[in-house]
Structure formats: C-alpha cells, structure tokens
Subunit: 327 residues, 2 copies
C-alpha cells in the first residue's frame, strides 16, 4: 500500500512529518510512504534523520501552502503544492491515501475538488474523534459545513456510523442528533427534518442534548459544522482549564510534593483520551479517496498514527461501505 504524506504541512515541517514517516516506515515495512514537498528540503531532512530504508520516496512539490493562507486562493494558485501534488497522485491511483497536518481549509477544498465526491454524497464532511467516558466516539461535522440541509445531516449520520463500525470497532453505532431537547419537535426546521430522515437508519437513537456527549449516550454525534467545531474546541480545552483550577486548589490547600504528584498523575491519566496525538488525524468523509488532516502541532507520533489510520481506512473499505449505505 502506498500512502502519500505532506512533508511541509503543520507547524513543525519538515521535521515532524519526516520523523513520523520514518517511524511508520520502520514499524511497517509493508507500507510505502511518498513524501510530497520541495525535493531538496525533504531529501536533506531524510538524510539528517538518517533514514536508510527503502520504503520512503520523495515526490517533488515546490509550492508550500501555509497554515494562514486563504484556502480558496491557495488551492487555485499553488498548483504545485504538496497538497495538490499528493492529492493529484491519489486521484490518479498512484497512491491509496493522502495525509497532511497542514491548512485544514485548503485540504478540505483540495480534497473535494481533486478527489471529487463519492456517488450520492451531497457534501464532504470532517468527522472527528470525540472523547467520552466510554472511550473515543465520533462527531460529524466539526467545521466543514457551517450551513447544512436536512439531507446533509442525514448523510453525516450514515457516513459517521460506517466510520464508527469500521474504524472504531463499534458494531451497532448509536447515531444521536445533537439538539436542545430530546423531544422530536425540538430545534429548527432543518433539525426536525433531519430527525425524520435519520429514522430510516436502524442505528438512530433520536435527539441527544449537550449533557449526553461526554456521557457517551451515542457513538456518532450528528450536528452542523458550527456546533461541532465549537464543541470540539470546547472539549479540547477541558484538560487545561481543569488543571488550572485544580492547581489553584492545590496552592490554596498547601499540598505537599507527594500529594501533588498523586493528583497530577491521576488527572493526566484521566485526560489521556483527550490527547489528539493518540488519535492521529480526522478524515474527510464523502470524498472519493482517503484524505486525513492532522492537528497543526502534530508530533511525529501523531503523524505516524495518521499514517496507520489511513492504512486502516483503505483496508477496511470505508468508502465503498459508505457508498453502499447511501445508495
């Protein structure tokens, strides 16, 4: 299997992407990794990091799309970027997946444009892992579609449930529609119609409320990209906020070193599911290919896990299952 990786995506390129690629290549000799980026820069980084294997190749892509570039402009003007070249290779069948820790907006736009949509899909979506007390579950959409139609929410639910089955190992993924109340008449017209459409799925459990997310009442949380984006970032902020408040209490109580270490250790372990590094990246669902985007700050471990996640998405035939489920 060939997986293309953006060598100049994220806040720490080329160091982190290249190191992540080397880790993945060493762990899985059966994978071949294509590093897309300015040829010389990437070759030098590989040398610097002493890679001696044969399962990483460099694909020259001189343009660099920056994190703060306007997505639409970047995709239009930087036609030789790592993103355009990597996705172009994927579209032509020269590799099985494309991964980047770069500009999410540009990646979404380029993925939709270059790969196209799966048959029947209205709009590609970004699905993200979301930590709950029952482990990591899925939220769809988390920012790709700020304005939605009922049919889109329906499709988010179906695509999310396929992903949960294949990738998270949830046999019967409960689909919950995020709403302001459990009663079916709650919400605006879009939400109410989406509720009606989702009834077609045997996995739909109805509306869920804000309090039902962390408690893991559903396995797939369906919402528009505005709500999902705000919730995802809110959720990511919990560990730091709580550590801050706990520190204040520790200082106030004058706890000793041993007590502080005990509390920090327990909280660190409790917060582990909130660590995006373990997750790797989030998929664009609905595009005709496997395209993942990672956190801008992705560490080499996060990059490595993204590569493995992409490999699994290909192996588990997520896309053909989505197509069957929607049509």
């Amino acid at each position: 299997m060939k997986i293309a990786l953006d060598a100049v995506g994220g806040d720490h390129f080329p160091h982190h992407p290249v190191e992540g690629a080397i880790q993945a290549a060493n762990e899985r000799p059966d994978l071949h990794i294509l590093l897309a980026g300015p040829g010389k820069l990437v070759e030098e980084e590989l040398k610097k990091q002493n890679f001696s294997g044969s399962n990483i190749s460099v694909v020259d892509a001189p343009d660099i799309i920056r994190m703060d570039d306007s997505p639409a402009m970047a995709v239009k003007t930087k036609t030789n970027s790592s993103i355009a070249v990597g996705l172009g290779m994927h579209a032509k069948g020269h590799c099985d997946a494309f991964i980047s820790a770069g500009n999410t907006g540009a990646l979404l736009a380029a993925s939709a444009f270059i790969l196209g949509r799966l048959p029947g899909v209205m709009r590609p979506t970004i699905a993200s892992n979301f930590p709950t007390i029952n482990g990591v579950r899925l939220m769809v959409d988390v920012g790709a579609n700020i304005e939605v139609k009922p049919e889109m929410l329906y499709q988010f639910g179906i695509m999310g449930s396929v992903f949960a089955q294949r990738m998270l190992g949830v046999e019967n993924p409960r689909i919950g529609l995020v709403n302001v109340g459990e009663e079916e008449e709650k919400g605006d017209e879009t939400i109410r119609k989406a509720h009606e459409l989702l009834r077609k799925s045997p996995f739909f459990i109805g509306n869920i409320e804000g309090r039902d997310i962390l408690s893991g009442k559903a396995d797939v949380f369906v919402c528009d990209g505005f709500v999902g984006n705000v919730l995802l970032k809110f959720g990511e902020s919990i560990p730091d906020a709580l550590m801050h408040i706990v520190k204040k209490v520790i200082v106030k109580r004058g706890l000793d070193r041993e007590q502080i270490e005990l509390i920090s250790g327990v909280l660190r372990e409790a917060f582990a599911p909130f660590d995006y590094q373990l997750v790797g990246g989030v998929p664009f669902l609905g595009v005709n290919g496997v395209s993942l985007v990672g956190h801008g700050g992705s560490t080499p471990m996060a990059v490595k896990n993204m590569i493995f996640m992409a490999e699994k998405m290909v192996r588990e035939k997520v896309n053909s299952t989505i197509t069957t489920s929607l049509n």
Copy 2:
C-alpha cells in the same frame, strides 16, 4: 421590596420553594415574599415548616403548570397558575420580581406575554452563568431563541454586558461572539452581520472560539440559543464525566482511602463553580420586569439565592440600564 415566588415550580414543590422562601425571609426581614400556588397546599407547607414570621404571604393560584406541560398550551389554558398569577401581579406593579423553578418554556412565554418587552428589545433572551477559570461569566442566549437575526445577537451582547456589569461586578465586560474562528469573515451571514453590529460596542473583543470559553477569554459569550443550550448542558456534564473517568483511574491504580479522599476533595472544590445551586437562577433579559427561572431540581438554598439575585437585579436597575444602552 416584594418578590413573588412560584410555590409549585420545580421537581420538589411545595417543599423546596417554601423552604427557600423561609430561609430568605429569615435572612432578610426587609424582603416580603409572596408565595403563589394553591392556597391550602402552600399554607399547610408553611405550617409544616414552622414559619412564624410576617414577611411571607400566600397568593392563591389554583392551577399548576407541570414541568412536562406544553408551554404554549399551559400559558393559554392554565390562566390561574402560579406563573400567570405571579407574573400578572408583577405586571400590575404589585411586586418587584417573579421567580420560579418551574417549566422554563412556559415561564419564558408567560414572561414575554404578560410582562411585555423593554423598549427596543427584539426578543427576550435567557442568559446563563457559565463557569470559567476566571470565575463565573455569562452566556447569552442559552435556549430562548433557536433561530436568530444579527440584530438579536447584537442585543444579546448589549443586554449581557449590562448584566455582567451590574450583577457580576465586571466593570468592562468583554463581549465575545462565539464563532468557528477568530477572523471576522468566519461563520454564516447572520454571524458576520452580528460581528459588524457588535463593533458599535466598546466592549466587543471580536470572535471567540470554543476553546476560549472555559479559559475565560470573554465575560459575555454571545451565541444563538441552540449553540448556547448545547454548550451549557455540555459544560454542566463535565464534573460528573470527569469524576467517572477519575474513579476508573483510582480503581485501576488501587489507591488507598486517604488518597481517594484527597483527590475527591480537591476535585469537589475545583468543580464548585459548576454548581448551579450557588448561582440560583437565570434571568429572562429583555422583558419588562424581573423574571428568573431556576433549575427544576433547585434545592432550598438555590431558591433562596434566586430570591437574593432577583432583589439585586431590582436594586441594580438592570432593566433601565438595558433600555438606555439599547436606545
């Protein structure tokens, strides 16, 4: 000052409302509390709880609006409910505020209908305290208006900032517009127009993201009632979810009794700001009167704190300041 209290609101009536009224009446002999509810029921409860003071009166209101009654129907048909009678007295100037731990939807509808709106207000809103690492701040709207216009979001910001100044003691309340990114072009057209309108306020700090809420980047978080409702309930679920995860870690590590008590104690104290009891209730802002609704499960202490909050809203002239700020 006279404050009317719904004696049959919430999950524990008449016990909790009456006990809360007695606590408030004993603590503040300068307040006069009017208990609205079925006369005999309330009189008996007062006797049962041995109230011997003179600053509580009973106002007979035989109809009871239940927590699961349809708001519109309840307001239309139960014209002698504690809610209709209490708000009616307030509208006629026979008391200075009305408080209930009852059916939020019915209270909002009845408050808007019976009290009317303050001059210039498009739509009344529900503002709620929201815990942050800098203490309790304000979120507006948290469920009254699922669909909004830009002008409504603007007014939520202004009304919220007045409340934050007068009630939370924040001299220069930073107004943040909840959005999917900091850049002003983010969000849909409604949000972008609201952003433009909010620039009129010297307190507006621009867009904030989901991660900026718990970290207290703003003092007033402006959003539509859908987003606010989901966020509020999500936030309320954090303590339980975290305690659940921490317990798992404690069991896994086989901690001893002393260690468990230390951790629980620290976390309980850290989570104290998330306790709705201390807050009391949330106000309907924009109505021509002081109307507060409390959590259905309100304890006597929560009821007492709601009474004091209403008293402060009257004393601090929140409504006349809102009117001045909007016109």
